[in-house]
Amino acid sequence: MKIKIAKKIFSENDKIADINRENFKRHKIFTINLMGSPGAGKTSFLEKSISLLKDKVQVGVIVGDITGIDDAMRINKLQVPVVQLNTGGACHLDANMINNSLQDLPLEEIKLLFIENVGNLVCPADFDLGENIKVTILSLTEGDDKPLKYPLIFKKSSALIINKIDLIPFLEVSIDKIKKDCLLINPTIKIFKVSCKNNEGIENWVKWIMTMIL
């Protein structure tokens, strides 16, 4: 006998993502899911952003990695609440992992929460964590062909951060191509060019974030 089901296989994850979303809303927290390849500069970008943001807004961070506490130690130096989440092998964060780690954060003291996803341009795009926006960071050393090769993550992101622009004299990559391809995939994506080395562009991004949360 045939039975029509028509149920989302991600429904378990989505249910918990909705619980997270409610929780964020109740605490008036704006949440950003930051995604990008290993080495794109996610943690450096967070360090630079937080340095500028922490006098303006109360920031909290969840950092996801397969193993290790290196990222949390770096963020901890900035004296903002941080939780290190170890997936033990999983290539992405899911809503349940976030739900569990929220217990370790002082939510009433946070207005802006960054979730640094596991370094990966593929799997994190599929999982709703309950965030307000997804942001993808792509560094110039990864090459300018990445948006067309991994379209889904760019399609689902509200902003693209192009990092390591200080390296442009040494590389054969085109920032224009990255921008053009990304806008073809997602015409409404907001694009920021930054260097975590010399701080170029970080202020622009921080200004934009402030407009999102106010």
Binding site: A6, K7, C91, L152
Partner: protein, 114 residues
């Protein structure tokens, strides 16, 4: 590579629906996947076949149907559907003003039970 956890979720969902309706064996599970999804059907099938052992779905077959992406070219008005993960250019007029819609991916469509 999150096919294993997806296979686990879909197997659990199918078993739950089967038992809830008073049946004891699953013969077929049909799922739909968006073409834009990052899921590999082969890896999903492999994971599913490993996980179904010693469950009421152990003799079941998993059917995976890919759902195409669709959009209308803003330049020549042609309605486009594609099974590729993404396309930028309109295949008719070669303009880049296709804004493809990504279908709601990954659903259990139906199960066959006894």
């Amino acid at each position: 590579m999150h096919e294993l956890s997806i296979a686990y979720s879909l197997l659990n969902l199918a078993i739950e629906e089967c038992i809830k309706r008073g049946f004891s064996k699953i013969q077929k599970i049909k799922i739909t996947i968006s073409s834009a999804s990052n899921i590999m059907p082969e890896a999903l099938l492999f994971s599913f076949n490993a996980l179904k052992q010693e469950t009421i779905a152990q003799e079941s077959i998993l059917y995976i149907e890919k759902i195409p992406l669709s959009g209308i070219c803003q330049s020549c008005n042609t309605k486009i559907t594609t099974f590729k993960p993404f396309i930028i250019e309109c295949p008719v007029c070669h303009d880049n003003s296709l804004n493809l819609q990504i279908p709601d991916d990954l659903k259990i469509d139906e199960i066959e039970v006894t």
